[in-house]
C-alpha cells in the first residue's frame, strides 16, 4: 500500500514536471490524451533517452487508482526523469521506512512483468507445436481410411453402388459397398490393403496400398468399360441414352483432337478425328473390349491427343 502511495506521489510530480514545459495544461495527469502523452514521451526521450508506450500510459497513469505497480525499471526511469537516482531513492525521500511487504511486492511484480511477453510467445509457439503434434498423431494414430471413387475421364464421383472385396492373408474376402458419395471406409487393417473394385460399366480394378504413413482419404479413378456401357445402352434400346453418352464424350475431347490407333510395335494403324472416335466408342462391337489406352494428353482440360491399341 505504501508503494501505491509512493506511485501516486510520483504521478503528481510527473504532472508538475510536465507543466514546467507545458504550462498551458490545466488538467490532471489522469486526463492526458494522445497529444499530452506524445509530449510527455518526447520530454522523457530528451532527458533520459527512454520512453513509455501510450498503452503503458493508459494502463498505469490514466487510472486514478492503481491495483499494481509498473515494472521497477520503468519506475526507475520515471524517477531518473524527475531527478532522483531511482525508485528506491524516490521512496526513501517520500515514504516512511520500507517494510518486508514492500520489499517483496516489486520483485514479484518484476518477475511477473518480465515473463509476460515471453509467456505470449511461448504460448503461441506452444500452441503451434501442439497443433502440429496433434495433427501428426491424429494422422498416424487414426486407423480409419476412406477411399472414394471417381470417373477417370469425367472426374466426377461414381454414385452407383460399387462392390469392394477386401483381400487379407488367411482370411476369406470381406465384401463392402460404397455409400451414395461413392466412398467406403475401412479400419483395423493389418499389413498391406488389397481390394478388388467392381462397379457397373467400369473396368474391374485391383488396388494395393500400404497404409502406414498414408493420408486417411484417397481418391481412386476408375476407367469406364465402354463396351459394357454400350451393350447396356443398346440393350435398353434408348437412343436418348446413347446420345447422352455421345454428348458426354463430345465434351471430353477437343475439336481438333487426334486419336492414334497403333499396333504392337507402336506403328500407326489409323488416325481418327473426334467424331470418328466417338462413333467407335458408341457402337458395341467386340473390338471395343480390347481397347487399351496408352497415353492421353490434355489441353485446357480436354483430350487433345490419345493413343491406343486394340
Amino acid at each position: 500500500m505504501q508503494e501505491m502511495a509512493g506511485f501516486n506521489i510520483l504521478k503528481a510530480q510527473l504532472l508538475q514536471k510536465y507543466r514546467e514545459q507545458y504550462p498551458g495544461w490545466e488538467g490532471s495527469i489522469h486526463d492526458f490524451k494522445g497529444k499530452q502523452i506524445a509530449n510527455f514521451q518526447d520530454l522523457m526521450l530528451n532527458e533520459v533517452g527512454g520512453r513509455v508506450s501510450e498503452k503503458w500510459f493508459y494502463t498505469h497513469i490514466k487510472p486514478r487508482e492503481n491495483n499494481k505497480l509498473p515494472r521497477i525499471d520503468t519506475l526507475d526511469m520515471l524517477c531518473t526523469f524527475l531527478g532522483y537516482q531511482d525508485w528506491e531513492d524516490f521512496k526513501y525521500q517520500h515514504l516512511p521506512p520500507k517494510t518486508k511487504e514492500v520489499e517483496v511486492a516489486p520483485q514479484v511484480e518484476l518477475v511477473a512483468e518480465k515473463k509476460k511477453i515471453p509467456y505470449q510467445l511461448i504460448g503461441l509457439l506452444g500452441g503451434l507445436i501442439l497443433l502440429i503434434a496433434m495433427s501428426f498423431l491424429w494422422l498416424n494414430a487414426s486407423k480409419d481410411f476412406e477411399f472414394c471413387f471417381v470417373d477417370a475421364d469425367l472426374n466426377t464421383p461414381i454414385t452407383d453402388t460399387i462392390s469392394i472385396s477386401i483381400l487379407q492373408a488367411n482370411e476369406s474376402p470381406r465384401n463392402l459397398q460404397t455409400d451414395r458419395n461413392g466412398c467406403f471406409q475401412i479400419s483395423d487393417i493389418k499389413g498391406p490393403l488389397v481390394f478388388i473394385v467392381k462397379a457397373p460399366y467400369y473396368k474391374v480394378d485391383t488396388i494395393r496400398r500400404q497404409l502406414k504413413n498414408r493420408s486417411p482419404k484417397e481418391i481412386i479413378k476408375l476407367h469406364l468399360d465402354d463396351y459394357a456401357l454400350m451393350i447396356h445402352l443398346f440393350s435398353t434400346g434408348k437412343m436418348e441414352d446413347i446420345q447422352k453418352r455421345r454428348r458426354q464424350l463430345d465434351g471430353m475431347f477437343a475439336a481438333e483432337a487426334q486419336i492414334f490407333q497403333v499396333d504392337q510395335n507402336h506403328l500407326g494403324m489409323e488416325l481418327y478425328n473426334k467424331e470418328e472416335f466417338i462413333n467407335k466408342l458408341t457402337i458395341p462391337i467386340n473390338s471395343l473390349k480390347d481397347i487399351e489406352v496408352l497415353d492421353t494428353k490434355y489441353d485446357s482440360g480436354k483430350i487433345i491427343s490419345l493413343r491406343f491399341r486394340q
Binding site: 487426334q258 510395335n265 462391337i285 473390338s287
Partner: protein, 224 residues
Amino acid sequence: MIVGRLLVCDLDSKKKNNKMIKSIIILIFLLGLSWNSVQGQAAEQVQVERPDDIRLEQNFTQSELSVFELNAFKERGNQKLNDFVEHLNLLADIKLEQAIRESIVQSALQFFNNQESLIKTIVADKVTQSETIADYLNRLLKDKKNTTTFTVEQLPQNSSMQKDDNGDWFWDIQFQLLPTKATNGSAFFASVTIFLIKTEKKFGSQTKSIWQVFLGDITLNTNE
C-alpha cells in the same frame, strides 16, 4: 543506462514477437500458395509439347511407307473387316430402336471410301445379287425379321499388296462367313478388296491428308 537498456530489451522482444508472428503467417500463406499451385497444375493437366504425336502423325502423312508400316495398315484392314461384320450382326437385331439401327448403318458406311462399292452374292458360280453397300445396308435396315449373324474366319491369303497409279495401295482378303449358333443361314466363302488411300480428314479447323484403310467390293460365294 541500465533502465534504458532494459527498456530497449523490452521493445526488442516485442519486435521479435511481431517478427515471429509475421514469419508464421507468411509461412502459412506460402504453403497455401504452393498447395494451390500443385492442385491447379494437377487439375489443368496441360501438356502442350507432343513430340511423340508429331512423329506418329508422320506415319500417316508421309508419301512413302515402309514394309513395317504397310503391315500395320494391313492388320487394320483385317480389323475393319471384322468390325464391319459386327455392325451387320447388330443390324440383324430388329428389336433395336430404329434410330439406333440407323446410327449403325451410318457407322458401317464409314468403313467404305466409296458408298458405291458393290456387295455381290454368287451362288453356284452365278451372280444372283449385286447392290451397292449403301443399298445393301438400307435393305437390312428395313428388314422386319432377324437375319443371320456371322463370325469371320480368315483363310490363307494369297493376295499381296499392290500400288496403283495414284500411289494408293490395295489388296484382297479371303475369308469365310460362318453363321453363329444362334441363327440359321448359309456359310459363305468371301473376299473383300482393301484400299489404303491418302484421304483428306478434318481435325477441328485443320484438314490433313492422311493414309487410311477402307473396305471395297465384297463378294460372297455359296453353293446353297
